[in-house]
Amino acid sequence: MRGRLPLLALRTLGALAALAALASCGARPTSGAACPIGTTIPPLELSSIDGRRLRVRDEVAGKPALIALWATWCDPCVRELDALDRLALAAAPRGGVVVGVSVGEDEETVRAFLTRRPVAFVDVLDPSLAFARALDLVSLPAVVVLDREGRVVYAGETLDRAALTAFRAALGVRE
């Protein structure tokens, strides 16, 4: 008990200091930091995991889209796959599309992973990071939402509430 009281006091002081620091930071939007809002995705030709050559821009043309950048070694990315599957199935009948972009890994690695754990969305390969770099995305996971015109309306780190809200808005549906 003697040891607990000082610890609690220190923790309270620490929490107050953290709150004070937070107040001084102010609120900043959590989206759009890396990939500029309003830009369009690059017209790069990439390979899909099923062997097709395609442009993500053509794949999503005229459809609201959520693009998820991920890698097999990235734990937070892999944790999102279930949610991305559900989103792909929910978005398709509403005219939307989910596209996965496997960043920085070769086809063999991604294919081996997706054989064990198939996904419900189209996945394309970006082994040289060309797609990610063109969007100024330097960390994984990353999520980009496009409207029907192919413009970036949201860029964030994970498939969270903010990303979903942006995607629903692009689809024109309410929760």
Partner: protein
């Protein structure tokens, strides 16, 4: 009339069929239109989500000699034989989307040979000692660019208590390729004072205040660099108090330290991904303090992934330092400050290490863990003033 009857029957048939079709159709539409709400896509929001759990056991076996130890000939260096068993547990969990906690609980079980020669100080406490610590770091992702961290720690052993509180704030640049971190920390130690004869002289305390600045920068898609500067001010009783200093009269005095110490440390790190699925890390540290110690440390670490589940690591570390201005192995009785602690002597040290780690995908089949982690590591530390330490560690962990 029959035609009216036929029309009525036809109407009922058409109505029922249409109703059935509409109902069936809407059911089909409903089945296709899976819900797209936050809960339907992201799942139920758990207040606490366990991310990883790791149990590690580390064994330190130290041997050598130093003049501060009495377990040797009069006026000569004594044994620094010391064994430590350290089981540790690390738990990482998330609280909501923005808060992450890391709890680390090490338990030290220390067996030391150096104090066995009577009448060395702290006798039983040093021969066999247990210590427990709890380190709790909470980070809060305030915005995409700003992360705040709060660290608290408590260390308790037989005659020693220590509390640490640290705060840091990280600011990421717009495109997240640069991060600036500023941190402050305060450590307070309270402990019993024993002199070289083993007599207790009440309590003493020590304060350590630190401030640090770090800048990390993505230099290329496969290279990251970091520069860190830390300033630390220590005040209070800075020695162990029970360490001895041989005197020119053939006796031993208690060591004594200046009551204030200012330390500067400049650290540079570079990490490079290697195209054969490996990575190289280089670490350099320049250190300077008001005790007169100037040190330079260099470390090279190579990591190689052998398969998706296995990687190995090899490391080499070199350290050189000048001695403290008041280090001596032969002092005049009553001289202060004076120490014979071999850690403060001019020395060179090397560390060689190797590790093999396994990250086995278990696909939620084992305790709900997606990955099971196993590793075994060995390090040997040896230095020019007769001290070497073997460190063996093994761990088992789960990522959820």
């Amino acid at each position: 009339m029959p035609s009216v009857k036929r029309s009525l029957v036809l109407f009922v048939l058409v109505f029922v069929t249409t109703t059935l079709l509409v109902l069936t159709g809407s059911a089909v539409v409903r089945a296709e239109m899976a819900p797209i709400s936050d809960e339907a896509i992201l799942g139920r929001r758990e207040p606490i989500v366990l991310e990883s759990l790791l149990a590690r056991y580390t064994y330190f076996a130290q041997d050598g000699s130093g003049y501060q130890s009495k377990a040797g000939p009069p006026g000569g260096p004594g044994s620094e034989w010391l064994h430590v068993h350290e089981p540790q547990v690390e738990v990482v969990f998330r609280q909501g989307d923005r808060i992450r906690h890391r709890l680390w609980l090490p338990i030290d079980i220390v067996t030391a040979a150096s104090p066995v020669t009577k009448p060395d100080a702290v006798s039983a406490a040093s021969r066999y000692n247990q210590a427990v610590a709890l380190d709790w770091t909470t980070s809060y992702r305030a915005t995409r660019a700003v992360t705040l961290s709060l660290r608290e720690g408590v260390h308790v052993e037989r005659m020693f208590r220590s509390y640490v509180l640290g705060l840091s704030a990280s600011f990421a640049s717009e495109n997240e390729d640069r991060t600036f971190t500023v941190g402050v920390s305060q450590t307070n130690d309270w402990f019993d004072v024993y002199d070289v004869t083993g007599r207790r002289h009440g309590h003493a305390n020590r304060s350590t205040s630190g401030v640090s600045f770090a800048l990390s920068q993505v230099l290329s898609p496969t290279t990251i660099g970091e520069l860190n500067y830390g300033l630390t001010v220590q005040a209070g009783e800075l020695g162990n108090t029970w360490g001895g200093v041989p005197t020119n009269t053939g006796d031993r005095d208690s060591e004594s330290y200046p009551g204030r110490r200012l330390r500067h440390a400049l650290v540079g790190r570079l990490a490079q991904f290697l195209p054969w699925n490996g990575a190289a890390r280089v670490f350099g540290r320049f250190y300077d303090d008001t005790y007169g110690i100037v040190a330079f440390t260099m470390e090279l670490e190579l990591l190689q992934r052998l398969s998706r589940a296995i990687y190995v690591r090899a490391s080499y570390r070199a350290h050189v330092q000048s001695g403290a201005t008041f280090y001596t192995t032969r002092t005049t009785p009553g001289t202060s400050p004076a120490t014979a602690d071999s850690d403060l002597q001019e020395l060179g040290a090397r560390t060689l290490g190797a590790k093999i780690a396994f990250d086995i995908p278990t696909g939620n089949t084992f305790l709900g863990a997606r990955t099971t982690h196993l590793d075994v590591a060995y390090e040997r530390y040896f230095r020019t003033n007769d001290l070497h330490v073997d460190v063996i560690s093994c761990a088992v962990g789960f990522r959820f």
